[in-house]
């Protein structure tokens, strides 16, 4: 009797320790987030006080007169990310569907490994490859064609230099592609075969099963994958810095050089010696932080709503 009681007392004690440690570990995340936010805000205070809300809407970036604005960086971040998502999302969806629905294991397994390997390539490699191989290819073969065919659109106007927003967007797409594909593939795999078989049993074609069952069933997981890729694209630094062209301009042409928040920070942080300059860069970091946060919140809300409405399985 006593032995048992002792034992259970010991167990509840170890339970308590376990609980405290776990809560502490979880709290670290929150404290880290709050600390980051606080530190960024405090250090960007000189810039916030000097430029106010106008910081977000101004395109000037003049270290000489110390006039700074975030618009060109925000614009560049959003545009390069948008290009990346427009290319990467449909492509990874197709790849994932192929791997799950169509390919025999002899193909889907090696392709699956290849995609996982691609996800492990460091971003600087993408950047160097982008600068030395892909940008000249864009300049010689892709951009001239786009300009000749679609040059009437302001999007594809301007000298084909190879370096710029479009190239940065495509490199980003290649970088987030494996992430989205890998998650989407797993999501599609988790659709219970019995549901699909039931649909086939009712005479659906493969396309109908894919569209009506697989995609619908895993839709919230699919959204999650997309937002995972989006989060990565927004903050990607080195690869973008290599190919985006690093100019503080807002241009309607996708061929023109631009900059993203992350690339500006990577370029200018070391040499920013004046307090307002440094503080403006930190405020850019704050803007990126808030942007990522908003994206994640939006993602969570959307996924929840989709899950409630459509009643998907995941």
């Amino acid at each position: 009797m006593t032995a048992i009681r002792k034992k259970s007392a010991g167990a509840s004690k170890s339970d308590l320790v376990y609980r405290l440690v776990a809560v502490g570990a979880a709290a670290v995340v929150l404290i880290l987030m709050a600390g980051l936010m606080l530190e960024l805000t405090v250090n960007s205070w000189p810039s916030i006080r000097k430029f106010g809300v106008g910081f977000l809407g101004s395109t000037s970036w003049n270290p000489v007169t110390e006039e700074f604005g975030a618009l060109s960086s925000i614009f560049g971040t959003l545009v390069s990310t948008a290009i990346a998502m427009i290319i990467a999302v449909p492509l990874s969806l197709l790849i994932a569907l192929f791997l799950v629905e169509l390919a025999p294991p002899a193909i889907s397994r090696p392709v699956g490994y290849a995609i996982e390997l691609l996800a492990a390539v460091p971003s600087i490699i993408f950047g160097m490859w982008g600068l030395f191989v892909f940008a000249p290819f864009m300049a010689d073969h892709v951009q001239p064609v786009l300009r000749d065919r679609l040059g009437f659109l302001p999007l594809f106007d301007g000298p084909p230099m190879g370096i710029g927003m479009l190239t940065a967007g495509i490199i980003l797409a290649l970088m987030v592609l494996p992430f989205i594909t890998a998650v989407v593939r797993d999501v599609f795999r988790m659709v219970p075969p019995v549901v699909k078989e039931a649909s086939y049993g009712m005479g659906s074609t493969t396309w109908e099963v894919t569209r009506r069952v697989t995609v619908k069933y895993g839709f919230s997981g699919l959204l999650g994958a997309v937002f995972l890729g989006l989060g990565r694209a927004v903050g990607e630094t080195m690869a973008v810095t290599f190919v985006i062209g690093n100019s503080h301009d807002v241009s309607s042409s996708l061929f023109a050089a631009g900059n993203s928040i992350a690339s500006t920070l990577a370029n200018e942080f070391t040499e920013a010696s004046e307090p307002v300059y440094l503080s403006s860069l930190i405020e850019l970091g704050l803007v990126l932080f808030v942007m990522t946060l908003l994206i994640q919140i939006a993602a969570q809300l959307w996924i929840r709503r989709v899950a409630q409405k459509a009643g998907g399985g995941l």
């Binding site: 007169t65 230099m161 190879g162 920013a272």
Partner: protein, 367 residues
């Protein structure tokens, strides 16, 4: 129960014996350590810490390597950029800072710093145009300024053709490449444009980073070199050594004396020779747009920053010894790496500055 107590007692006794033994040993050991340290100090001497400009890093590290072999003094130089160098010396985390852009005398006095030039180099415009060999394209002051202002948009512009009648220039857009990061190189280059173009002076000015009217930015000299080599129709500016290493097509520039000059060590030297080092207050010397038939117009010096009032006399003395050695014995290595060593006369003025200005608790460090 009894057994456990016994075991505990044995362990306790053992621990006490061990502690006593160690305690006895400690004084003699410490003595031994002290002796060893004394010997090492005389033998191995001091480690100097410096940080700053990236442009002179190759030569500083070469000098430091050789100097370490000769004297045993170690130099730890972090090439974090001129701005970083200034920040580090202000924070007093390094023994000296290094900057490609000279600091204005009032600014120096405000912090209690002196600056002196260590090495001279040139900034070279480089181009990537089909069929244009290195040194073939000639640019006047107006042309250079208007290209970087974005006013001349094509290589076959009439004004470029008029200056270069013998060249076949293609119908291609000019892609301007500048530095994306803050840089002493940019400071020297924009300082030149500032001097030669009223419009540049009014709209943009001189700085380590400016609001560029046109073009795209590469990170570091290497980044600009990479962009220029890969973008057809590009023009950028890099340190001379980078242009040579990458076999890039440099441009001939029209200097103030009215001659088109090539960037070479001789033309950099010519620009440096014309400067009035003696009368320049606080060595605030800018070598751009210097007079002289052979002067390369975009030349600049790289500077060392030190506190006038040094806390540790031995470290300051060691640093000065190193710089003195560089002036005295560093010329050959410098020229190997395509830098221009400081002329003898300038080195003498610098030494005088050390004697006059550097103090440690009231005593002069350099005699």
């Amino acid at each position: 129960m009894k057994k456990e107590i016994k075991r505990f007692a044995v362990a306790l006794v053992l621990a006490m014996v061990f502690a006593l033994a160690c305690g006895e040993q400690t004084p003699s050991q410490a003595k031994g350590d002290g002796e060893a340290r004394d010997v090492e100090e005389t033998r191995e001497a001091i480690t100097l810490n410096g940080a700053g400009a990236t442009f002179p890093y190759p030569i500083y590290s070469q000098w430091a390597h050789t100097y370490h072999k000769v004297t045993g003094t170690k130099l730890n130089y972090q090439s974090i950029g001129s701005g970083g160098g200034i920040a580090q010396i202000k924070a007093k985390t390094v023994d000296f800072g290094a900057s490609d852009a000279p600091l204005k005398p009032p600014y120096l006095d405000g912090i209690g710093l002196i600056q002196f030039p260590m090495i001279i180099g040139g900034v070279v415009p480089v181009v990537n145009i089909e069929g244009i060999e290195p040194g073939a394209l000639k640019l006047t002051k107006d042309l250079l300024a208007d290209i970087f202002l974005g006013k001349i948009k094509k290589w076959n512009d009439k004004r470029i053709k008029d200056t270069n009648p013998e060249l076949k220039l293609p119908d291609r857009e000019i892609a301007v490449v500048h530095r994306a990061d803050g840089s002493g190189t940019t400071w020297i280059f924009t300082n030149y444009l500032d001097k030669i173009s009223a419009e540049w002076h009014e709209k943009i000015g001189t700085a380590k980073a400016v609001e560029w009217p046109t073009g795209m930015g590469g990170k570091g000299n290497a980044g600009v070199a990479a962009y220029v080599q890969r973008v057809k129709g590009a023009i950028g500016y890099v340190e001379f050594a980078y242009a040579l290493q990458n076999k890039m097509a440099h441009v001939k520039l029209l200097n103030t004396a009215g001659h088109f000059v090539e960037p070479t060590i001789e033309t950099f030297q010519a620009a440096a020779a014309g400067a009035d080092w003696i009368n320049a207050e606080g060595f605030y010397i800018v070598l751009t747009d210097q007079p002289g038939e052979k002067s390369w117009p975009i030349t600049g010096a790289s500077f060392i920053l030190m506190y006038k009032d040094q806390e540790k006399a031995d470290i300051a003395k060691a640093a000065l010894d190193f710089f003195d050695w560089c002036y005295e014995h560093g010329s050959e290595k410098a020229e190997e790496l395509h830098y221009v060593p400081m002329p003898k006369e300038v080195a003498d003025i610098v030494r005088k500055l050390w004697t006059d200005e550097l103090r440690s608790s009231g005593n002069s460090i350099w005699k």
